[in-house]
Amino acid sequence: MEELIISTENFKKIVQELLGKEFRVIGIPEGENKYQEITDGSKLSLHPEAAPTSSSFKEYFFPKSEPIFFYKQNHSSVDLFDPIEDKKGIVVIGAKPCDASALPIISKVFNWDYKDDLFNKRYDSSLIIGMSCNYKDDYCFCVSTHGSPENTKGSDVFLTSLENNYFSAAAITPKGESFINDYVKYFEMDEKKHKVIERKEEIPEHFNYEKVKTWLDNNFENKFWDTAGEMCLGCAQCAFVCPTCHCFDIVDEQCSSCEGRRAKNWDACQFSLFTKHASGHNPRDNQEKRYRQRISHKFKYYNDKFGEILCTGCGRCARGCPVSLDILQVVEDINALAEKS
């Protein structure tokens, strides 16, 4: 398919049409830096030079608290009710590569020993329109996790920013191709040969992942872990803003004495009770062990199991951490240790 271009203005018109067809459009409204539901096409913004949002858009695929079923007790039995399915397809517009590439990564764990329909129904009926990124700060490290600011992984359509508020649109998947076909009247041929807006600075490679992985394979008891995470307070800020963190808790909640629901809530390995057993034993009973778990899961265990790095290098965890615990600096320290040995 020949490469087509589209102006930001025309994209807003596509959004209006999508809203008319009862799609849920997720994007970053003008003037804000959060993924939100867009209800007015004119409010959509496409800013490749903006910083990553403070939290990811995973909540639209994996909500922070989601009902699994509802129950009602009768005299001698229990009736179960399904949650109302949101039949609207989700369209995410303007996802940075560090966000879009997270969805295929977590899709693996949601389709492993149990096919999680709650996630799959949303993901399978979604369309991700990724956008190249022109931002860099000291917390970005997408290149080191085998990503890049132009990575099309996870996107169905990929936009690259051109001068004059234009974007070149490439169809990455068949879904993306049919999207462009459906709205082809808003796209144009690139007659004027618009120039690509180059990034001001390249994102360097901060660490060698293979060396880090080998070190993690062999250093579970290393003294490094005694101090790596000792300043961690044990909140879940990092896990909840992360596009790839996916741990959840299942709870039963009562509405009245005979009615209630079972829900799936975000959970985090940094919480002190995350691994507390029913017996009372807690194998990860201090923050140092829990922090070792976080790094190991993201950079070793998930790769061992699913062949993916459970981190896209977006840097949100470090930007927002109340004690500025920087995952990149921890992994760089591991890289340095790996190079020494």
């Binding site: 307070l233 909640e253 923050q287 004690v323």
Partner: protein, 287 residues
């Protein structure tokens, strides 16, 4: 700065404290908590306008782990948290080596420069530029005048709302809550080994981030801060969803002050507000 480094190095060399909790600067120029266990480690200590964290939160973590004193670098506001912990019998004064620093304000947006506008609300009204007591003091004291928006207008606006409007306002704020508990974890006064939110038999506070669960969590935490909050504003700084938590804790502080003439964290010998009573407490609201 050199004064602080030297003081800390001496403390560690002379074994006056087994470790010191202070601030260091990382490769990105972010100032963050750091623990020095040797005089060489103490070389990394810094103190400047970006030293926002309240380090007293680490006292509860480290107090039981060893023999010897815990050294801690404190600004005047942080010292109130230390005093509060002593008042509440969480640590003994003798188990601490307090290294005070004269502070002239800390930033609000941590990745920008400090200025009259980019400062914390608490700095605007600071009465403790020099910590009230200490075992050692470092850094120069400077006068400063700050112009940051102190949310007084928002506070007054809320108080003038009707009950329905208030509940709507707070529900809108609390619905943003993702139950990350960052507010609880940064708070030096939240030291319970098992938080009420973690009790599941019975489940007093829903763990879900629903309207009901978030309302219950934030309201109960605000109540648990009644007469205990020392106004460090760390909870609001840590919140990733920008919920104005300090409005609640400030309201509690104002009530403690107006109804009982009490301010927490001012004197280590003072009995705590909720932990004590007076036979002549007001009861005009009780039938």
């Amino acid at each position: 700065m050199n004064e602080l480094k030297q003081t800390c190095k001496d403390v560690l060399t002379e074994k006056k404290a087994r470790l010191i909790i202070g601030y260091s600067e990382d490769k990105n120029k972010r100032v963050k908590p750091f623990i020095a266990r040797t005089p060489e480690d103490a070389e990394k200590f810094v103190f400047n306008h970006h030293a926002v964290n309240n380090l007293a939160v680490y006292i509860s973590r480290f107090k039981n782990n060893f023999e010897g004193k815990i050294g801690i670098v404190v600004k005047g506001c942080d010292l109130k948290a230390v005093t509060a912990l002593i008042q509440e019998s969480q640590v003994k004064r003798d188990d601490l080596y307090i290294i005070g620093v004269n502070c002239s304000g800390v930033v609000r947006e941590i990745d920008k420069e400090f200025s009259k506008d980019n400062s914390q609300i608490k700095c605007k009204y600071c009465q403790t530029k020099t910590p009230a007591y200490f075992d050692a003091i470092a850094e120069e004291s400077k006068e400063f005048e700050l112009t940051v928006d102190d949310q007084q207008e928002l506070m007054t606006k809320i108080e003038k709302m009707s009950a329905e409007e208030k509940l709507d306002f707070w529900n809108e704020q609390f619905e943003k809550c993702i139950k990350c508990y960052a507010c609880r974890q940064v708070c030096p006064m939240c030291y319970c080994e098992q938080c009420i939110a973690e009790k599941s038999e019975p489940q007093w506070i829903d763990s879900s981030a629903t309207a009901r669960g978030s309302f219950a969590w934030n309201t109960i935490r605000a109540f648990h801060m009644a007469g205990r909050c020392i106004g460090c504003h760390e909870c609001e700084r840590a919140c990733p969803m920008d919920i104005p938590l300090t409005l609640l804790t400030r309201k509690m502080g104002m009530v403690a002050s107006s109804e009982f003439g009490y301010r927490h964290g001012m004197s280590i010998d003072e009995p705590t507000l909720i932990g004590s009573y007076s036979t002549s407490d007001k009861e005009d609201f009780i039938k």
